[in-house]
């Protein structure tokens, strides 16, 4: 059975060009970038080249790029790094602002910080997942250190007005961090256009290898590390650099940037055709997230009278890979905090799936998905104890 992968927000296949770029660094140029000899120099060169690639693809300078192990670590470093630096300046260190629909990497970091005495404001979003800018502006206090608001949401795909947030942050002289893990490669990400101070990216979401990530840190932004060891990455991220992973990440970001004029348009066409045809063929369906201000690859749908995991498994049996809420939370059947934040009713929440497209998905694949969805939703609704009679 040919399988159809439409869970690109969970993770992506490594691009063959990316893998090729990595291979020499496992077995030939395997040096440690801290070593002074020729093996070490090869590693340093690879590291610098990747750093330049990353910088170029987001409009940054090479010295503003910190390599991490992934998106989660980048988010932790941004928020905790700023707070650690300001810890002795009590007038500017007690308060953090974020949104109610952030990824667990940000939300769990914030609850940890609350547990050790910091205060966090969770700004709400409207029914389409767009941040309430007024509330954000009014929540800024004299002791606010950092605003962390994601660029685009991983579940419902809503894109936030980051430029407006950046303006508010700048006016109030507060650092602004954005999690661009889902947006990079799908919509333009330029740190100066956006006006952000820090920005997180994860390699495995953009056809790069797992185990690598980036934190962009604008020159002059003062951070402290939260992992301790040797002085790698300007003292912000110790540990022997994952050269093959970083080389792959650099290549993946370059490719994504190059293809920005093409891939997102293709995904957008598939997305809108998918949505239209699903609405045509099934009743009691809802599209979650913003209708237009959304990632070109995100389709988040709620089917009434159907439970998401069951639908996922029926599709899986047909070779189609999608997700229920975010991949992170699908193991524990906890209600999605994103869906409750947009005020979705419980009977819709439980029947929610996310289809996240990739650059290599085809229109034929979407045909198959529409048909399978129709069959599977029909089957589950027949079985359901709460379907309309």
């Amino acid at each position: 059975m040919k399988r159809i992968y439409m869970d690109h927000s969970a993770t992506t296949e490594v691009d063959p060009l990316v893998l090729d770029s990595m291979l020499p660094y496992f077995t030939e140029k395997f040096g440690n970038a801290s070593s002074l000899h020729s093996f070490g120099q090869e590693a340093i060169e690879a590291l610098s080249a990747a750093r330049q690639q990353v910088a170029d693809s987001i409009g940054a300078k090479a010295n503003e790029i910190i390599f991490t192990s992934g998106g989660t670590e980048s988010d932790n470093l941004a928020i905790r790094g700023v707070l650690a630096k300001k810890k002795n300046d009590t007038s500017r260190s007690q308060h953090i602002i974020t949104s109610m629909i952030e990824h667990p990497a940000v939300l769990s970091t914030c609850s940890f910080l609350e547990s050790i005495g910091y205060e966090v404001t969770y700004v709400p979003v409207d029914s389409e997942g767009v941040l309430d800018l007024d509330k954000l502006e009014r929540s800024v206090r004299d002791d606010t250190s950092i605003i962390s608001i994601m660029h685009a949401n991983n579940e419902i795909g809503t894109i936030q007005p980051v430029k407006d947030i950046a303006r508010i942050a700048r006016d109030k002289d507060v650092y602004f961090h954005t999690d661009a893990v889902q947006s990079f490669g799908k919509i333009p990400v330029d740190v100066n256009e956006m006006g952000v101070d820090m920005l997180s990216i994860s390699s495995h979401k953009i056809h790069g290898p797992k185990g690598a990530g980036v934190l962009y840190v604008r020159e002059g932004t003062e951070l402290e590390p939260f992992i301790f060891g040797g002085g790698h990455e300007q003292g912000l991220r110790p540990g022997t650099e994952n050269i093959p992973g970083i080389v792959g990440l650099g290549k993946a970001m370059s490719l994504a940037k190059e293809r920005l004029g093409h891939d997102p348009e293709h995904m957008l066409r598939l997305r809108d055709s998918l949505i239209d045809r699903i609405f045509d063929s099934l009743d009691d369906v809802r599209l979650n997230g913003h209708p237009t201000q959304r990632l070109p690859n995100n389709v988040n749908l709620s089917f009434r009278y159907v439970e998401g995991e069951s639908l996922l498994m029926l599709l899986d049996v047909k070779g189609i890979a999608i997700s229920t809420a975010s991949a992170c939370s699908s193991i524990s059947k906890k209600e999605s905090h994103v869906l409750s934040s947009i005020g979705l009713n419980a009977d819709y929440i439980h029947g929610t799936i996310r289809i996240s497209l990739g650059k290599d998905n085809t229109i034929e694949e979407t045909d198959h998905v529409v048909q399978s969805l129709q069959e599977s939703v029909g089957k589950l609704r027949e079985m359901s104890a709460i379907s309309k009679s």
């Binding site: 159907v306 524990s332 439980h350 359901s384």
Partner: protein, 123 residues
Amino acid sequence: MYSRKVIEEFTDPKNVGVIEDADGVGETGSTVDGDIITIYIKVKDEVLEDVRFKTFGCVVAISTSTMVTQLAKGKKIDEALKITNKDVIDALGGLPEDKRRCSGFALAALHKAIEDYKERGTA
């Protein structure tokens, strides 16, 4: 994560449906939890002649529902009451640890259906 048997039962469930003139009906769960299981029984001479289910729920909810109906169907009521949660899980070739909690709902619905039948008899 799920055994082959669970997926088989889930994708091809037996005894789905409503018994219009049921002798007993039992329901468990709530829309808030995201699982509702209704079990219908038809009884003749203290034997569960027919057992059917309607389930809104996850893979475990559906596969345990169909398994409970299969295990109970044709059994005498007092025998059917002896079916344990473990019997259901074993018949499904096991369930993931973190999903065990959900596995009792279908059996509970059967018990409620039998209770309902008994209450109707005494009424």
